[in-house]
């Protein structure tokens, strides 16, 4: 081989978490979404909107926190439309999600140009720097990897634990799961499917927005039209791969992050190898993910089916 395996391995480990984060954030949100029975394909568009809004807010105010919050807010706004269409108007969720995707896709590009004009080189901002947990981060290998990440990562771990607890150890979590399995039953038992579905969708939107913000504020530092490049859909695939269980989705995201970094690393190490084939790698991997899960997936029974009270 023409390169050092050790180098590759260490850069994979180092880079895997940041690269996994956008998909992980969006996937965790979509996980809740789908457990409640709503399929949201507009994640891609919401991530783009989150990215541009976070970028703009950070650019103007210099505050990363505001950027993230604004991104989450935009995500909520967009997912609100999806919720109205899917839950209240009982329209086809695939079509609604696709429409949101398109809107987010176009609008984000427009906003960028509106703010900066047609630039040839991207406008940059400072990315969020990682934080080191004292002492622990000095452990060899593992130290920097696990304990030297951006604070968002730690928050996300807490969030995932929270989601896990919510779903399986609280009553509202049980209710949400019921709504996703059979909204009629939920309704009969006094659980309001509309409220729960709205909540789930809005949460999913918030997370998608944050995921997009992570891309601009932490990884790249600028905005580009095709930043997300399908990551939103990878997130949907990750939920499937994780069989709707938060920690499994987390593992899947890490694997995806590792694969992504691998492609980037190999790209720089093998300049003569046509880079496009490497670029394909994450997408082939995603295909692989869902093939692996295949028929063993047991989705919430009422996924993507609108609930009509009159039935």
């Amino acid at each position: 081989m023409g390169f050092d395996v050790g180098v590759v391995l260490s850069s994979v480990l180092a880079g895997m978490i940041p690269r996994a984060m956008p998909a992980l954030l969006a996937a965790t949100g979509e996980n809740i979404d789908e457990i409640g029975g709503v399929l949201n394909l507009g994640v891609e568009g919401m991530m783009l909107m989150g990215a541009i809004v976070a970028f703009l807010v950070d650019f103007t105010t210099g505050s990363v926190l505001l950027g993230f919050l604004a991104a989450g807010g935009v995500g909520i706004l967009f997912s609100f439309f999806h919720a109205v269409a899917s839950v209240t108007l009982k329209a086809d969720q695939v079509v609604s999600g696709t429409a949101i995707w398109f809107i987010g896709w176009g609008l984000s590009g427009v906003l960028y140009v509106a703010a900066f004009g047609f630039t040839t080189s991207p406008v940059r901002i400072n990315t969020l720097s990682p934080v080191s947990v004292p002492y622990l981060s000095n452990l060899p290998v593992v130290g920097q990897l696990i304990f030297g990440e951006s604070p968002i990562f730690y928050l996300t771990l807490l969030l995932i634990a929270g989601v896990q607890y919510f779903l399986y150890h609280t009553k509202p979590g049980l209710n949400l799961r019921t709504v996703g399995e059979n909204p009629r039953v939920a309704d009969v038992m006094g659980v309001n499917p509309t409220k729960y579905r709205y909540g789930a969708v809005l949460f999913g939107g918030f997370m998608a927005g944050i995921g997009g913000a992570y891309l601009t504020l932490v990884i790249v530092g600028s905005f580009d039209y095709d930043m997300t490049a399908g990551i939103g859909f990878v997130a949907v695939a990750l939920v499937l791969f994780g069989k709707w269980r938060p920690w499994r989705v987390f593992i899947g995201a890490l694997v995806f992050g590792a694969i992504y970094v691998l492609y980037l690393t190999l790209e720089s190490l093998l300049p003569s190898f046509p880079y496009q084939f490497l670029e394909m790698w994450p997408y082939l991997a995603t295909l692989g993910f869902i093939v692996v899960v295949g028929k063993r997936a047991n989705p919430p029974a009422a996924l993507a089916k609108p609930y009509d009270k009159g039935e």
Binding site: A85, L89, T98, A99, L111, A229, V291, G294
Partner: protein, 331 residues
Amino acid sequence: MIVLFKVPPLSGIASLFTTGFGGYQQLAETLVISTPLLIMAVGLSVPFSAKFWNIGGQGQYILGSLVSTWVGLQLAGSLPPFLVIIVAIIVGFAAGAVWAIPPTLMKLYLGTSEIITTLMMNFIAVFLLNYLVLGPMEGSAAKAFHVPSSAPLPPSDMLPGILPGTSLSLALVIALLLAGFMYVILNRTRFGYEIRLIGQSPDAARYAGVRINRNILAAMAVSGGLAGVAGMAQVFGSTGVLLPQVFSDITTSFGYVGIPVALIASLNPISTIISSIFFGGILNGAYGMELVYGVPVDVVIAIYGLIMLFALLGLSVNLRGLLGGLRRRFK
């Protein structure tokens, strides 16, 4: 968003339409854009009627344009032009169909979501295209001038124009014929019946002896194939060269735009003619908006999305559900 650019909204929308439709020249331009859209959307109406969501139109389109151009370049000069064109159509169809098959098989036999698999194929197709166009297929002129593209097709091998003074080509005629043909297939043949039945009720279809797998495979092959033909038509009818793609470039994303075009037309191939002209006109108009007001062309995909959303809402609002809910609340 129009407001963002300090454009008075009304005149902004108005200019959208005048650029798209006003005047003879503009209309022809619109039709040029609409042609591949029409072919694409007509193809999509088949799997969509079976509720099989083919989001991979873009990848199928790319493969079609790729392979047909390659073949066209190989055959240039050794065969009479009209033969080259016919071969290109066949090859374009085949390439698109082949690209559509793997995700279909995955769904039918492994149960994986066709939305995600077809979408992933799109990304892979883009990379494949870019690799080839920037590498083995790069045209010599392109290399010299650092403008990425493939070698151009000899003008004689392209689809002949049909209206002098415009860039309308035979592709439009092909598209219209295809639309009519698919209409008959969907509504008057056994295959079309079975496809529609699968979409309406897969259970009833099984109980009626319909072979779901075979039908869906055929539907996807047709859809992929037509997408491929759309790709071929774009190269052989307008551009003449193969260009590399960037994901977010709406002006080449016929595969994605085809989705709302087909849906808005309620999957009826004849209505798709109107729908594709409408969408094409808006895109054309968006070009104009960019020139005049500086609004980037990408606004158009947002507009498409909004159109989809409003159409969706419009359809749903007519349901008794909303009215019933209102009545109940105000009792």
